[in-house]
């Protein structure tokens, strides 16, 4: 990975600074509002002195580091619109983040989150929230999670959800919902109320049947992407999927399917076992 340059010892002591410090200094000099600390080998915010005073910055990229936690003071950088913390080792978050007035994009993918702080859903203008590859499930969502009405994209792929709360319907502006490779055994019919939804990723779950309400969604436009592979679909759905997404959509809207769906619900067939072995996920390392 990183190797210290051998010539370091002959430099004056004060110039021996980490890559992160160098970036910070430069950014301060040129007043760069976009701070790039990608892959700088930092494990704590203390290694980035002065960062929490750089109130002018609008973007902070800290992805691919070894951060384990985020200090509440990060929220003092009130001009931040984008925080990218992807691929770190973050186990918990401060609630203060949720009050950041301009934060539009928050990337927390590939971390070690088992929970989110209470009140997490208070973000006033958040548009894209990426929580892919963590250890979240329905119980770990705070009560106000689905109050983030400004969300356009919610990525929850590679987590441990078995059910998605029906409150999902409150995310009226949602265009993208990522649920790839969770443990979902059913989808809430309320997804059908998300009139702007054009991307739905539910590959690699334990789904058997789709609520007919999802037929309301526009699955076959050229901007739509509905991914259903790798589930335990009942045969009629599997057949339609073979034929193509527009066939599935027509089928979901049909009276035939409504009857099948209701009969299926009354029969209460057994739930398929977890089909994805995610025991090796690095997000589980404690």
């Amino acid at each position: 990975m990183e190797t210290a340059p051998s010539s370091v010892s002959c430099l004056p002591h004060q110039t021996k600074m980490s890559k992160a410090k160098k970036v910070l200094e430069e950014a301060r000099e040129i007043q760069n509002p976009e701070l790039d600390l990608f892959d700088k080998g930092v494990a704590t915010f203390e290694e980035m002195p002065g960062l929490l005073n750089m109130t002018n910055i609008t973007r902070l990229t800290l992805s691919l580091n070894r951060l384990k936690s985020v200090p509440p003071g990060l929220a003092n950088l009130t001009n931040l619109e984008i925080i990218n913390l992807a691929n770190n080792q973050i186990e918990d978050l401060p609630l203060s983040l949720s009050s950041m007035p301009k934060l539009r994009i928050l990337n927390l993918s590939i971390n070690r989150l088992y929970t989110l702080p209470r009140g997490f859903g208070a973000f006033p203008v958040l548009e894209i929230l990426d929580l892919t590859y963590n250890n979240l499930k329905e119980d770990s969502l705070p009560g106000n999670f689905f109050m983030m009405e400004t969300l356009r994209a919610l990525y929850l792929g590679d987590n441990d959800f078995e059910k998605l709360p029906p409150e999902i319907k409150n995310l009226k502006n949602l265009e993208i919902l990522g649920l790839r490779e969770n443990d979902l055994i059913e989808l809430p019919k309320e997804i059908g109320e998300l009139s702007r939804l054009r991307e739905l990723h539910v590959q690699g779950n334990r789904l058997t049947i789709i609520p007919p309400e999802l037929g309301n969604l526009d699955m076959s436009s050229n901007k739509a992407a509905f991914r259903f592979e790798g589930n335990e679909w009942v045969q009629p759905i599997a057949d339609q999927l073979q034929l193509g997404i527009n066939h599935l959509q027509d089928y979901l809207r049909s009276e035939t399917y409504r009857i099948l769906y209701n009969r299926y619900l009354t029969n209460k067939p057994p739930v398929p076992p977890p089909c994805v072995d995610k025991a090796k996920k690095v997000s589980r390392i404690r």
Partner: protein, 409 residues
């Protein structure tokens, strides 16, 4: 025994005169309008004083006839029992009448009058206590005797301080009252009750009913004529406009009133659709002002009501119709893409924002990238993904490297 009637010896129980003759009514009539006078006709009303002390001090002075030398006691008879007097007996003389000492007593308790003070009623004399017990009026409200000013109203007697408006508790003795449904009410409360019954407002300033259009101002209603235009001073009518100085705030105590003419001159925004002034929330877009409900999509004509709109060639569109008609929004900045468009992964990006979703490094049409959940990931970042994730993604056949799209217009 003979009874002597002495009218002037004690105060009389007040007789209630006609309302027009009462001192209060006369006072009102002399300074008030005709309206005022007719108003008092609603109810008997008077305030004749009833004083505890005899009106005429002189007449009550009791003198002891101890030395009436030039009068023969033989001719003197007691006014009560009609008997004569003994030679050395004390004789009570009051206003020309004579009594045995033991006969000059209260008709009720047969005791002498303390300090010689008595009250006469119907030819009988009473001590102060018994007179009150027997004849003094009792206050309808507090139930005690009324000494002094008696308010006769609502078929009862009242202390002046006990006769109050049943709604607001205002003292009514000097202001008069109106009987409304068996209740004594002050002017204002009566007007309110009446106005509510008629579905009308009561002016917050003069407290009388507003027959024509009321003027709303700072949350209350008024007769418009109580106000003048803040700018030109003209007396206002119901067309006056309240101008909110701090739009959006609930506090309206800095609001001002203007006549319609001045209001229109003040540059109050005019709606670009209906051409009428906008009193409430103003939407400013496309270089014009709009009523919230009149700012609509040029295609479907539905109001945006604060939802995002998209502008093109001086027209506004809802998201659906903008895309239907013109194309793309950048996935990252959510703005309409003006110049070159990167389209990939079912999304579009503006030239500034097509970047790796992990490292935020910009990519161009030559950059190779991977996708994860239809997000672009540069090769370097993809290779730093956890190995097991890469394996799973590969197994799902989703990790095919792709060439970035060519920018298109």
């Amino acid at each position: 025994m003979m009874m002597v009637n002495q009218k002037d010896a004690s105060p009389r129980i007040p007789r209630l005169g006609a309302i027009e003759n009462s001192s209060l009514a006369q006072r009102r009539a002399s300074k008030g309008s005709k309206d005022d006078l007719s108003y008092y006709r609603y109810e008997e009303y008077d305030n004749v004083p009833l004083t505890p002390k005899p009106i005429n001090e002189q007449s009550l002075k009791v003198s002891w006839v101890t030395n009436i030398a030039n009068m023969s006691r033989d001719n003197m008879l007691c006014s009560k029992c009609g008997e004569g007097f003994e030679a050395q007996e004390k004789i009570v003389n009051s206003t020309g009448q004579l009594w045995h000492q033991q006969c000059f007593v209260c008709a009720q308790c047969f005791r002498e009058f303390a300090d010689g003070v008595f009250y006469e009623y119907d030819g009988r004399k009473y001590c102060e206590h018994d007179f009150h017990v027997l004849f003094a009026p009792c206050c309808q409200r507090c139930g005690t005797f009324i000494i002094g000013r008696v308010i006769k109203a609502m078929n009862s007697s009242w202390h002046a301080e006990c006769f109050r408006c049943e709604m607001c508790q205002l003292e009514l003795a000097d202001t008069g009252f109106i009987k409304n449904g068996g209740r004594a009410l002050c002017h204002e409360c009566n007007a309110k009750v009446k106005a509510i019954g008629l579905g009308k407002y009561v002016c917050h300033k003069c407290h009388s009913m507003i027959d024509d259009q009321p003027l709303k101002f700072r949350g209350e209603v008024y007769h418009p004529y109580h106000f003048n235009c803040t700018a030109c001073g003209v007396e206002l009518d119901a067309n006056a406009r309240e101008v909110r100085n701090r739009p959006g705030l609930a506090k309206n105590d800095t609001n001002e009133l203007y006549c319609l003419r001045c209001h229109d001159k003040m540059g109050v925004p005019i709606c670009g659709a209906c051409r009428r002034p906008i009193e409430e929330r103003v939407v400013t877009a496309l270089g014009k002002h709009w009523h919230v409900e009149h700012f609509v999509c040029a295609k479907c004509e539905k109001p945006f009501f604060g939802h995002r709109h998209y502008e093109k060639k001086g027209l506004a569109y809802c998201e659906t119709h903008y895309h239907q008609l013109f194309g793309n929004l950048c996935h990252h900045c959510n703005q309409v893409i003006a110049g070159d468009v990167f389209t990939a992964l079912n999304k579009a990006w503006c030239v500034h924002h097509f970047a790796c979703s992990v490292c935020d490094q910009k990519m161009n049409q030559k950059t190779k990238f991977y996708e994860c959940d239809l997000k672009p990931v540069c090769k370097k970042c993809y290779e730093r993904f956890p190995k097991e994730l890469r394996n799973r993604l590969r197994r799902q056949h989703e990790a095919t490297p792709r060439r970035a799209p060519t920018p298109s217009d």
